[in-house]
Amino acid sequence: MTAIEMKPPVLTVGPLAWVRKNLFSTWYNVALTLLAIGLLYALLKPAWLWATTEARWGVIEANLSLFMIGLYPREQVWRIWLTVFMLAGLIGFSWGVWKIAARGFALIALGAGAAFVLISLYFQWDVWTQWLVADFILLVFYFIGLRLRRGVLFATLGWLLYFPIVFLLVSGSKYIASLPPVPSNLWSGLLLTLLLTIVGNFGALPLGILLALGRRSKLPIIRYFSIGFIELIRGVPLVTILYMASVLLPYFLPIDVRPDNVARAMIGLIIFEAAYQAENVRGGLQAIDRGQYEAAQALGLSGAQTTILIILPQALRAVIPALFNSFISLFKDTSLVAIIALFDVVRISRSILAQTEWLGTHREVFLFAFIIYWAFNLAFTYGSRRMEEALGVGKR
């Protein structure tokens, strides 16, 4: 074989090659790159100038606790911290028990806690100790979870009990002296947003499953009722449903039953979310092979047994990603309760803007509210994606 003379190959590694390949490969890519740089410059320069000179970020620091817990009585704040600590413990414990599946959420929580410690230290807020304690609890429970036998049982029980306990802690009770009741009109800020998200999602799941089963039922009346309900709810905006829940619902209840504003909003959110989750679950039900039904029948299981023991577990597993997505979108959608006069993050932002010393700080306040939603969603998406990967759901 004779040696063929070849030119040295074009540089394919290193920053210069990367730039050439990804930014300036063709003439139109050059144009696009220049256009993008120009656009970025035009957008970022005034934004940066504004953020560093003109913006009055003091409004955020002065009102941080309003954003987080709103009007919740300040002497009762320890209850909120208690729910945070319990959450940290549960997350750590789940990490220890379920290992890789819960690791994404655990790492996010750990990182968020550490970030809050650093931020608080930087601004010299005294809450840094609480966040440090939360991180510490998380790690301690991680090791407990690693060692403990029958951890899965305890972790499941813990999560099932957690939400009722949070509800009790936040709302308080007449019968417990150390937990005086906090009326729901004081639940506000991020606290209210999170409560509504959790109640809306978990409250809607049973109803959504029933509706999905109803929609796939062979009985025409039940099927058409489910279809009608789902399509009615999905055809109208959430605002109208919340409006209905807040204005019309009291008319449908007995004269002496008057749920408060927050409870009415929760009912509205549950009804709304149920219709959407029903469609998610229906997707899972449709994905199940006929063979599963036939095998269950061959084993002599009744219809109800087939559904509960064979079909639903597989269907729900298949739709975990969709349920995570609807969790996130409901988190965003809870902002609409601001329209029916509930003080969630959005409405709290509006009320902060009404303070006389912070007039005209719309951009600062709304940007901070953006960051709250965005950071939370990002963290949740990261955690749920790691969990989906570990469980291998939604793939097959």
Binding site: N29, G235, T240
Partner: protein, 388 residues
């Protein structure tokens, strides 16, 4: 054990289950009806649509049909419906453009463009629309400079805190005479379309792209012929001009409308970008490779192979994004644009006719949703793959 007993017969059980369900529904409805009538009686309210004929006596900030406070509630609600329809229809058109552009940018091999689109989609999709609308309205639109220091964009378009002024067109005196030519031009387009389609059906190879120019050329010729005969063009531009404290002429978008439209377009565009990206990525690589091996060029591959298939995948999720946009326009109340929801809310506050208002509201949104999905379903059926 008597296996033929009727209570073991699945047909009987099915009927029984449905009968029980109906009875439960009727009982629940009766219970609710009793509560409603008790509550209404206690407040001294009656149900009926008589109030629709009473004068509304509240003003509506902007309206695309004539309205003044002496008009009836029915008229006021109609104004709200029209406002919702206008912002939704405009929004759907604009958001498609934004979304497709962002979706294609998301697939660009250009790193900067790609990341730019990714940042847009990531930020917009993860924050609530209501907050975005408030940001655009309170943080941007009403903080624009005063009329005297208006920002001028090419067009000209003037951005001011009193609204956005856009160059617009006005019918001239010859407009009626021009209609003939315009109608002729439109008819010619249809004729060409039919002719080309039947020619295409008979030919074995795709017609060359040049034939498509006929679409442009013949209507242009007709219009040109009109221009030779008529003394004046049918439309003349009206440029907004500063006159005293305000602009005169041109089209004015109120700050509320501008913020709402912009917010809805930007928000839905991010979702459509993901739909477009997923649709294009879902076309299997083999299709592209097959097209290449048949000798199609890059643009032919995109136009003839990838895009038609991606479109089929994209239409259903696109439909639901359009529906979302129409439904999300109800957030207009957060920034004071008088859409259906906000007008209905005011009407309720004044009349107390809660049930009637909710029914009107629900029915209006439902019919908008149903009509949109009907249109999209018809379109969907047309472009679906016809299999043997």
């Amino acid at each position: 054990m008597n296996i033929k007993a009727f209570w073991r017969d699945i047909r009987f059980l099915n009927i029984l289950a449905q009968a029980v369900f109906i009875v439960a529904l009727v009982l629940a409805a009766l219970y609710l009806y009793r509560n409603v009538s008790a509550n209404l009686a206690r407040q001294g309210l009656t149900v009926g649509y008589g109030f629709m004929k009473n004068p509304a006596s509240f003003d509506i900030g902007e309206s695309f049909i004539s309205y003044d406070p002496s008009n009836t509630y029915g008229r006021a609600l109609l104004v709200g419906v029209v406002n919702t329809l206008v912002v939704s229809a405009l929004g759907i058109v604009l958001t498609t453009i934004v979304g497709v552009a962002a979706g294609v940018a998301r697939l660009s091999s250009n790193w900067l463009i790609n990341k730019f689109a990714a940042a847009y989609v990531g930020v917009i999709r993860n924050t609530p629309l209501l907050l975005q609308l408030m940001f655009w309205y309170f943080g941007v639109v009403i903080q624009l400079p005063r009329v005297k220091e208006a920002i001028e964009l090419p067009g000209p378009i003037y951005l001011t805190q009193r609204g956005i002024y856009i160059i617009w067109a006005e019918a001239t005196s010859t407009f009626p005479a021009w209609r003939v030519y315009i109608i002729l031009a439109i008819i010619s387009i249809f004729v060409i379309w039919f002719a080309l389609r039947s020619a295409q059906n008979r030919a074995s190879v795709p017609l060359s792209l040049w034939w498509s120019l006929a679409y442009l050329l013949i209507p242009v010729l007709i219009i040109w012929f009109g221009a030779l005969i008529q003394p004046e063009p049918p439309l003349k531009p009206i440029v907004p001009e500063l006159a005293g404290l305000n602009f005169r002429g041109g089209l004015r978008l109120t700050p509320e409308f501008a913020a709402l439209l912009f917010g809805l377009v930007v928000y839905t565009g991010a979702f459509i970008a993901e739909v477009v990206r997923a649709g294009i990525q879902a076309v299997s690589r083999g299709q592209v490779e097959a097209a290449r091996s048949l000798g199609l060029t890059n643009s032919q591959t995109l136009r003839l192979i990838v895009f038609p298939q991606a479109l089929r995948i994209m239409i259903p999720p696109m439909t639901s994004q359009y529906l979302n946009l129409a439904k999300n326009s109800s957030l207009a109340i957060g920034i004071g644009y008088p859409d259906l929801f906000s007008v209905a809310g005011t009407t309720f506050n004044q009349t107390g006719a809660v049930i009637e208002i909710v029914v009107i509201m629900m029915l209006s949104y439902l019919s908008i949703s149903l009509f949109t999905s009907l249109l999209m379903n018809v379109y969907n059926r047309r472009i679906q793959l016809v299999e043997r």
